[in-house]
């Protein structure tokens, strides 16, 4: 079975929301007219998010939110219509919904690529690596994530990065689906902590 023809997961399977896009920051209106907006870059497009959408997009960086838990968290934060905010982001491609497990992880890896937002620094113990801004911040990341990170500039998707790594490092001892599942597990923290962003593989690079 290839990635393209894998079956859809049953609706009852747990699904998590993953943020897509690169933050460009707050922009105040010229001459005080209009609203302050937060902009997200997705490929060659720039989206201006409303406060509610921004809240949903940022909260989605926290590990493991599904639609229901994200909506509940937004409601606690005072968002009047959390479902609409989430749907707007899904519709714009700024959130992506995925299942858990090897097959959804393969699909995610095939459809997205990493956008590095920090540089690699050094290896760490336990098979991990340090990524960051030398002299400023350091983040520990998992070994599978790091191998994909290393190939982010030369491959169109995380899946091709994984396959490229496993082809040259048979000592890794991982099948592609196991590596993809580990990647999905290791991806949440670097996404939350600003080490990388995700873009869709099909999206033109800016």
């Amino acid at each position: 079975m290839t990635v393209a023809d894998h079956p859809r997961l049953p609706d009852a399977a747990p699904r998590v929301l993953i943020p897509i896009g690169v933050p460009l920051g707050l922009q105040h209106p010229a001459a005080g007219a209009g609203e302050t907006v937060f902009r997200i870059r997705l490929g060659r497009e720039v989206y201006a998010l409303t406060d509610d959408m921004l809240g949903a997009w940022l909260l989605a960086h926290s590990t493991g939110h599904g639609r229901a838990s994200l909506a509940a968290a937004l409601a606690r934060d005072g968002v009047a219509d959390p479902v609409a905010a989430i749907e707007s982001l899904l519709g714009a491609g700024l959130l992506l919904e995925t299942g858990l497990g090897a097959e959804p992880a393969l699909v995610l890896a095939a459809t997205c690529r990493l956008v590095p937002l920090m540089a690699g620094v050094r290896p760490a113990d336990g098979g991990q690596y340090v990524v960051g801004v030398p002299g400023s911040v350091e983040r520990r990341v998992g070994g599978v994530f790091y191998e994909v990170f290393c190939r982010a500039t030369s491959t169109p998707s995380m899946l091709e990065a994984l396959a490229g790594w496993l082809a040259v490092d048979p000592d890794a001892g991982l099948s592609l689906d196991v590596a993809a599942e580990r990647l999905l597990g290791e991806l949440a923290e670097p996404l939350e902590r600003g080490v990388v962003a995700l873009e869709r593989a099909a999206e033109q690079r800016p």
């Binding site: 920051g25 590095p116 500039t153």
Partner: protein, 192 residues
């Protein structure tokens, strides 16, 4: 002053750190064609080119090589030309021809304006203290120069590269962003 090697030399690629054995593995740099391995002397020249963008706007060929020798790098000339050949360094020129051979990629997250007047902008991690503060023109360079098939094309689209003086400004801004860990260059794919 302009001519081959007389303008700033910039690093190409994203630093990845060393491999699994921290003290003995080669340094790694990601480029469009894959991961490049750099020995300690190559790394010294490459990282010096990266750091030199601030406060001086980058070092030209002779100054970069002299600085590398001062730091103890060996066989500097052959290392330098080897890195140029591998497209891990690029010699800039005042006309901006160099910028047609690379793309620029932003690092860090944009945090946006720090003041209503729009004179100060910040990069970093959302929810944390800003790491890099930029003026409006440098922030524009950070957010818009990645758009385009080449850095040169993006600069022209932005209207910031109308002449030699303009392109020197673009080069200075790119060098500064690289030195501050806010951007990196990649070689365009055609020659990889």
């Amino acid at each position: 002053m302009s001519g081959p090697g007389l303008d700033p030399v910039l690093p190409v690629g994203l630093a990845l750190g060393r491999g699994r054995v921290a003290d003995t593995s080669p340094h790694r740099v990601a480029n469009t064609g894959g991961v490049e391995l750099l020995d300690p002397h190559e790394w010294q020249v490459w990282s010096l080119a990266a750091a030199a963008g601030e406060p001086r706007g980058g070092l030209d060929r002779a100054r970069l090589q002299a600085a590398a020798r001062e730091l103890g790098a060996e066989r500097v000339s052959s290392v330098y030309y080897g890195l140029l050949e591998r497209r891990l360094l690029i010699e800039t020129d005042s006309r901006g021809e160099w910028a047609e051979r690379v793309t620029m990629h932003a690092l860090l997250s944009g945090l946006g304006q720090l003041d209503r007047e729009g004179t100060q902008y910040a990069l970093g991690v959302i929810g944390e203290t800003p790491m890099v503060r930029l003026d409006a023109a440098s922030y524009d360079a950070w957010q818009w120069l990645p758009f385009g098939p080449t850095l040169g094309a993006a600069a022209k689209t932005l209207g910031v590269a109308g002449g030699v003086a303009d392109f020197r400004t673009v080069t200075d801004r790119v060098a500064t962003l690289i030195a501050r860990g806010a951007a990196y260059l990649l070689a365009t794919k055609e020659r990889q």
